[in-house]
């Protein structure tokens, strides 16, 4: 008998625990009438500069408390998606640009257009607005952008007597670019002339430069199996066939940025955001940024982050206030200077003071402001995350000589259509 009572008791405890937790959840949501406002802000990766600015905001607005939750980028999407699916979307999200469209298309985001003046709207750069704008509606504010850049070792170039291009209009074409790489490599007796890292986004600028793209123009099907795209893949393969680029670095068993920092690599194609790391770590030689080559057009791939708000937020006023604070000309230029990234507002680009990297940042900003819109559209979508893996594995097969560029392009097309776009 006693046992029976005990087991009943256990069931009772369990049930009451469930009920109590359900109630406490309800209480939390009815608290909105209070003066004190608490915001949940989910941020991808650890960004101390952003946290610092949020703290300043809290100090200036005593009734608003912001709880920042940091999620590393490689777990970002699975965690955020799970939260949204479980009705636990945050108030604000600091997200890589490509995810913005996904949430906007699912009608989850707060439209910010009514809260922005015409001047403010115009101040944001058109190329960065591509990822947040849908007709009249604006689903987020671009916070910063970055790009795939070309950095070079000034000492090695000087020794080889090779000059880098003076301006965007007079940049190398593809052939001149590889010849320069070869010349510097030979003159310095190095193993390599130019390399990318293992992130396939570092190949994309060259795809776009040849007027190629991963998806077709209206983004309804793959666009990679086209002569322009295949030609770009073919040319990329010649980097390796001519012994200029490191297969290991592209496949990921060694790190191109380490080789560059050690002075073993004259040119590296990598994220522009690495400029700060290079600036801090490189002591033995001078380095700089220069213009990527051009073929049909000049192009690079942009990155960066947007701040978006979920429309179910109970504190839209506070949310908009924080978003505008973080994207104000002053805060944005401070942030960009500290991180070595590019502001998304024209006024902030003018105001930003990069200090010792100012010259290089000018080149990077010049490139960012001249990216063709078809390229921006190609990577500013959530499918980017899905097709990236396909490009990676197929390009690796091409580089290793296991597949021809045509075969790889065909396989990319197949996978993108069936699995990424679900045709």
């Amino acid at each position: 008998m006693n046992k029976f009572k005990m087991s009943l008791f256990l069931v009772f405890v369990l049930l009451s625990a469930v009920i109590v937790s359900a109630c406490s959840n309800g209480e939390e949501t009815t608290k909105s009438g209070d003066e004190e406002v608490e915001l949940r802000f989910i941020v991808n990766n650890d960004i101390p500069e952003l946290v610092e600015q949020v703290e300043q905001f809290e100090a200036e607005n005593e009734n608003i408390k912001v709880n920042i939750e940091t999620i590393p980028l490689d777990q970002f999407f699975e965690k955020v998606e799970t939260m949204i699916a479980g009705n636990r979307a945050p108030d604000l999200l600091y997200t890589p640009v490509l995810a913005t469209k996904r949430y906007a298309n699912l009608d989850l985001l707060l439209d910010l257009a009514p809260n922005l003046s015409e001047d403010e709207k115009k101040d944001f750069l058109p190329s960065t607005m591509v990822s947040v704008q849908n007709g009249e509606k604006i689903y987020g504010l671009p916070h910063f952008t970055d790009e795939i850049s070309l950095f070079y070792n000034k000492d090695l170039f000087e020794k080889a007597g090779v000059e880098v291009p003076p301006s965007l209009d007079n940049t190398w074409n593809w052939e001149e670019f590889l010849n320069a790489a070869e010349k510097v490599k030979e003159a310095n007796g190095l193993k390599y002339g130019v390399s990318t890292g293992n992130d396939v986004s570092q190949f994309l600028p060259f795809l776009y430069q040849n007027n190629g793209s991963v998806l077709n123009q209206d983004q309804t099907a793959a666009g990679i199996n086209t002569p322009a795209s295949i030609e770009a893949i073919e040319w990329f393969k010649t980097w390796f066939d001519r012994g200029l680029a490191s297969k290991e670095a592209f496949i990921g068993s060694e790190k191109a940025d380490e080789l560059f920092k050690q002075g073993k690599l004259p040119m590296i194609i990598t994220f522009s955001g690495l400029i700060n790391t290079f600036n801090n770590d490189i002591k033995d030689f001078e380095f700089g940024a220069t213009y990527l080559p051009k073929q049909e057009v000049t192009a690079t791939k942009l990155g960066g982050s947007n701040i978006v708000a979920f429309k179910n937020t109970k504190h839209s006023e506070a949310v908009v206030k924080l978003m505008k604070y973080l994207t104000s000309t002053e805060k944005m230029s401070e942030f960009s200077a500290a991180r070595g990234v590019i502001p998304t507002r024209a006024s902030a680009q003018e105001a930003v003071d990069y200090g010792s990297i100012a010259e290089d940042m000018k080149i990077i900003i010049d490139e960012v402001n001249n990216v063709p819109t078809f390229a921006v559209a190609d990577f500013s979508i959530p499918e980017y995350l899905g097709y990236k893996a396909v490009l990676t594995s197929e390009l690796q097969s091409v580089i290793l000589g296991e597949k021809s560029p045509e075969e790889a392009a065909k396989e990319m097309e197949r996978q993108i259509n069936t699995s990424v776009l679900k045709k």
Binding site: K3, F4, M6, S7, L8, L10, V11, L14, F77, E78, E81, T82, I84, A85, L106, L108, N198, K247, E248, I251, G252, S253, E254, E258, L259, P382, E383, L385, G386, K388, A389, T392, S393, E394, Q396, S397, L400, E402, K403, Q415, T418, S419, V420, K422
Partner: protein, 306 residues
């Protein structure tokens, strides 16, 4: 008449009381089990059933699932990449007999009375406590072509340098080597426990009969270790089918698709392409494969034993 009636009544009420007690007795265990049952249902049973339901739908995690029948399964079986990932998983799993064999061999050695036994046991067990990601990063560095330890040693020995991680045919070998190193300790522990449960008297009897070490190993150790071996084999095989983190960190599935394994394929569909329904279907096919393999193994050992 009354007496008979009352007896009947009494009988009836006794029966109901007995039934009541019987019911209570049956319910008691469930009461005590309820916390576990709730947790199990919430985190295991419901998701497993939900995944089965999802596998017949197209679902992007957010929004409403759309019923598609067996389309996910059909598409899955037609996807060459799926078959590549199955093939790679099987190739990786072919290392299981080696893993078990090596563990058994070292366990027998460590079961002797040798000096520094505790040190050796600890040394072999050490990799088990490391996290998979740490192990992956360390070994990626070890095999790195220009600054890795393996090439450094090869260079010192005057041997040709390797770049196994950028070779589609050899990258899998690296994964196998690393997984042997990482998993050895736990198998070793199981074998050691099994070895110690074999009574000394059996060996002594064999010695009196004039059996040599090899005969003792083959005719005593191996048969008596059979239950342990079966257990280790099944656990290792299931573990090797579940390989993901190691491949994800060291090779990222490359070069090309040469180390793309099943779980990686499922992960990619679910969390990079948000095809939750399709990924669920793949997970169910994965489950069926594992189920059949385990069944075959158990059968094999049963018929062997009889």
């Amino acid at each position: 008449m009354d007496a008979v009636k009352s007896i009947k009544l009494q009988d009836k009420s006794e029966k109901t009381i007995a039934r009541k007690i019987k019911w209570k007795k049956r319910l008691i265990p469930f009461g005590f089990l309820s916390p576990v049952l709730v947790i199990f249902s919430l985190f295991m049973f419901i998701p497993v059933v939900f995944a089965l339901y999802m596998s017949f739908h197209q679902w992007g995690m957010i929004g409403n699932p759309e019923f598609v029948g067996i389309e996910n399964y059909v598409r899955l079986l037609q996807d060459p990449l799926f078959w590549i990932s199955v093939k790679n998983t099987i190739i990786f799993s072919l290392s299981v007999p080696f893993k078990v064999g090596i563990a058994l061999f070292i366990a027998v050695l460590l079961n002797q009375k040798i000096k520094g036994l505790a040190f050796f046991r600890a040394a072999f067990f050490f990799p088990v406590v490391l996290s998979m990601v740490v192990v992956g990063l360390i070994w990626q560095w070890m095999f790195s072509p220009s600054y890795g330890f393996v090439n450094f040693m090869l260079e010192k020995l005057g041997l040709p340098l390797q770049s196994m991680l950028i070779d589609s045919k050899q990258a899998m070998i690296v994964l196998i080597i690393v997984s042997i190193w990482k998993g050895l300790g736990s198998n070793l522990l199981l074998f050691l426990a099994g070895l110690q449960s074999i009574p000394r008297s059996v060996y002594e009897a064999a010695e009196i009969d004039g059996a040599n070490s090899w005969q003792k190993f083959w005719h005593i150790t191996v048969p008596l270790l059979k239950p342990t071996t079966l257990f280790v084999l099944i656990i290792t095989l299931i573990g090797s089918f579940k390989i993901f983190d190691l491949a994800y960190v060291i090779t990222g599935g490359g070069p090309g698709t040469s180390t793309m394994v099943l779980v990686h394929y499922i992960y990619q569909e679910a969390f990079q392409r948000f095809n939750m329904g399709y990924a669920s279907a793949a997970a169910y096919v994965f489950f069926i494969i594992l189920f059949i393999l385990t069944l075959i193994q158990m059968r094999m050992f049963k018929s062997d034993a009889s």
